[in-house]
């Protein structure tokens, strides 16, 4: 009786671990959307931290303006990515795939440029950890 129950417990444990592993799986499009969402959250959270530094007089107004400009440049690329991903989801043809690839490359570069700049003042890795990334 006790052994049967222990076997049941072990079975549930295995099931929990299997479900945990399954939680990591997703389609390429799902992964792309998830990655883009994570990147967006990091950029927006770091922008808040950056603005907070300016309010606390830790950075100059010129630096604040540069960070804001970098964010707005990234935002244009992110908007293009959002539209490209949505278009590819709808059409899934060669042309929309090419546009999506270009948008992914562009927004990756823009996000890197923005995070490189803001990362001089904001602890981006710590922020990413706080966001669970």
């Amino acid at each position: 009786m006790r052994h049967d129950r222990m076997r049941n417990v072990s079975a549930v444990l295995v099931l929990v671990l299997l479900v945990g592993a399954w939680a990591c799986a997703s389609t390429p499009l799902g992964k792309a959307v998830q990655a883009a969402d994570a990147q967006k959250q990091l950029v927006e959270a770091s922008a808040d931290e950056f603005a907070r530094l300016y309010l606390n007089k830790a950075i100059s107004v010129e630096t604040y303006r540069q960070g804001k400009d970098a964010y707005q440049t990234w935002a244009k690329g992110e908007t293009a990515l959002a539209k490209s991903l949505a278009e590819w989801k709808r059409l899934q043809d060669k042309d929309s795939g090419a546009r999506l690839s270009q948008a992914l490359a562009d927004v990756g570069a823009l996000a890197s440029a923005y995070l490189d700049f803001v990362g001089r003042f904001v602890d981006v890795p710590a922020l990413a950890k706080r966001l669970g990334q």
Binding site: V16, A23, G30, V61
Partner: protein, 95 residues
């Protein structure tokens, strides 16, 4: 939260409940079957929670085109309160 953490919390909770039940005289020390039942129940609950999280994780796969666009469109700089305040400060500084 990862599955192991959930499992640990679930088992910890079951142990705490068991200890409380023992204090109240509801469970005898040798009553292993009730202990195992408690652990089993905690793990089943953990499984349900993990399955729920898994649904959330894979929900990215099931988004419609409109939902993807809405999710990924960036916020305006001044959409955030702290950034709006920073903009006001920058404007006050005449930049």
């Amino acid at each position: 939260m990862d599955p192991i953490t959930i499992l640990t919390i679930g088992i910890g909770l079951a142990s705490t409940l068991l200890q409380e039940a023992k204090k109240l005289g509801l469970v005898a020390d040798e009553s292993w079957s009730k202990y195992v039942d408690g652990g089993l129940h905690a793990m089943q609950t953990a499984t349900q929670i993990v399955a729920h999280i898994a649904d959330g994780s894979t929900s990215y796969d099931g988004l419609t085109a409109e939902e993807i666009e809405a999710l990924l469109l960036p916020a305006e700089w001044s959409a955030s309160e702290v950034r709006r305040l920073a903009d006001e400060k920058a404007a006050a500084e005449g930049v």
